[in-house]
């Protein structure tokens, strides 16, 4: 009972954080009364509390990733046109608040360590696919639109178990399946296959919450573009 009380109190205290995380992903202002997004975010935050342990590093970063993923899934389910975008604006109060809360020197170091571990893991994973950062840098699209298109394809693929399994087993992109799933252009996929593979590896695994949280993924409508 006490734990539950504490949990409620904790959530209540962090409502601001949840609101900011959700509105940042949705790119709009939300209201507690009307928007489903906030309740999804609340549930995600609660789940994050359950799943969290100290090995996962800073809780707020972990919670932010959890909220983001939950919201993106939610958007995908409820609308076919949901379109993910990268954001590079050094935006909003949210980040400032977050940094103010989370980053004192010690925590910064811890975060860096966590990230370094993740990166080491990622490099090991990538080397199984014979991918080096040199290759990835060379075949990473410079245009934002292209990157976002690849991101969307990667996100859809990473939520498709078949494809992820095939990739892990064969260490190659199953291009046919991806084409069937996304209806993308074959040449496009082949051109950006390295970048796509890297994104799928990062997005499909739960091992890289920090890397994922650093990527500023947002949800928008494709028609808006």
């Amino acid at each position: 009972m006490r734990l539950e009380k504490d949990r409620n109190l904790f959530i209540e205290e962090n409502k601001g954080f949840i609101y900011n995380a959700a509105s940042n992903v949705c790119k709009k202002r939300l209201s507690w009364e009307n928007d489903d997004e906030l309740s999804i975010a609340l549930i995600a935050f609660n789940n994050a509390c359950d799943k969290y342990n100290e090995s996962k590093g800073n809780f707020l970063v972990f919670a932010k990733v959890a909220i983001k993923n939950a919201l993106i899934d939610f958007f995908r389910k409820c609308s076919k046109n949901a379109y993910l975008t990268f954001s590079n604006e050094d935006n909003d109060e949210f980040n400032k608040i977050e940094t103010r809360i989370s980053i004192d020197e010690y925590e910064k170091e811890q975060e860096n360590k966590q990230r370094a571990e993740e990166i080491a893991m990622l490099i090991r994973e990538l080397s199984k696919y014979k991918l080096t950062f040199d290759d990835i840098v060379k075949s990473s699209p410079s245009h934002r639109d292209t990157r976002e298109n690849v991101l969307n394809i990667a996100y859809r693929c990473s939520s498709e178990k078949n494809i992820v399994e095939k990739i892990e087993r064969k260490k190659i992109l199953p291009i046919k399946e991806i084409l069937l799933l996304t209806g993308a252009n074959r040449k496009f996929i082949e051109k950006w296959r390295r970048y796509l593979l890297t994104l799928i590896i990062i997005l499909s695994s739960d091992n890289y919450p920090y890397i994922k949280s650093y990527l500023d993924i947002k949800v928008g409508e494709k028609d808006e573009k």
């Binding site: 990268f86 590079n88 990230r115 490099i123 970048y195 990527l215």
Partner: protein, 274 residues
């Protein structure tokens, strides 16, 4: 170059690979402070030089080279012509017979050169213009003689490094005819060649033998001339030192001929039927 901020994924020498917030992977330069992996770091992005830039560089290099050699070849004088009429002017032309340099050799020449522009013109056109203009100047300046045309003569001496020693002066000749002026063309190589030809025609034997002794190549015409001269000499007078100087082939030919004649003369005697 844009500054990029991202998580440092890998460090290699003076460069770091970072992943930026918007999902791009970039290679950036590291300054004095070496970042740690996992750190958020800002640096100048390094962009690989695309292949087409190398192509452009190579193409422009080639372009400069060809342009340079072209300009050099165009401006290098190959032939120099000294125009010696009422004025004295030296023209230098390139291998395409275009005038590239005009130097006056006397005072009236200087005036004339200032008044006309014959640079980059074909030599024949240039010479024609030169002639016309110098005639005009002449007519203005001097009181016309009673019979001026008789005394006028233009010397054009040509010296060229060209192998094919053909310089077209037909136009000049036409123009000269219009003005009733004598034209004398001196061409050094031509003169030499002509003199040699003459020698070949007049004294074919000596000329030929000389050439053989010097081991110079001999053409068919010279050879035929030589044979003719031998035949002619044989009929008229027996050469005394024939054995020493006649070349082998010719010698053989003649010995065979002689032998045959001897055989022919001896034939009735040796005939077994008789």
């Amino acid at each position: 170059m844009k500054n990029k901020t991202g998580i440092v994924m890998k460090i290699k020498g003076k460069h770091a690979y970072v992943m930026t917030k918007d999902g791009a992977f970039e290679k950036i330069k590291i300054g004095h402070l070496t970042p740690q992996i996992g750190e958020i770091f800002t640096g100048e992005a390094v962009q690989a030089v695309p292949i087409y830039k190398y192509a452009i560089a190579a193409a422009s290099f080639l372009f400069v080279i060809t342009l340079g050699t072209g300009a050099y070849a165009y401006n290098k004088p190959v032939t120099s012509i000294i125009y010696n009429g009422s004025t004295k002017i030296k023209l230098e032309t390139n291998r395409w017979d275009r005038i590239v340099k005009v130097t006056p050799l006397d005072k009236s020449g200087e005036k004339l050169v200032k008044s006309i522009d014959i640079k980059n013109k074909k030599l024949s056109n240039g010479l024609t213009i030169l002639l016309q203009e110098s005639e005009k100047l002449n007519n203005k300046a001097s009181v016309p003689d009673k019979n001026p045309n008789n005394n006028k003569e233009i010397k054009v001496s040509i010296e060229t490094k060209k192998k094919n020693n053909k310089i077209n002066v037909d136009k000049l000749k036409e123009e000269v005819n219009k003005h009733n002026i004598k034209l004398k063309i001196e061409n050094e190589k031509d003169n030499k060649a002509e003199s040699k030809d003459l020698e070949n025609q007049k004294k074919p034997k000596e000329y030929f033998e000389n050439k053989i002794n010097k081991k110079e190549p001999v053409n068919k015409q010279e050879h035929d001339n030589y044979i003719e001269s031998i035949d002619y000499n044989e009929k008229s007078q027996e050469p005394k030192d024939k054995k020493n100087n006649t070349p082998k082939k010719v010698k053989e030919k003649h010995t065979k001929k002689k032998k045959f004649q001897e055989d022919k003369s001896n034939f009735p005697n040796n005939n077994p039927l008789n």
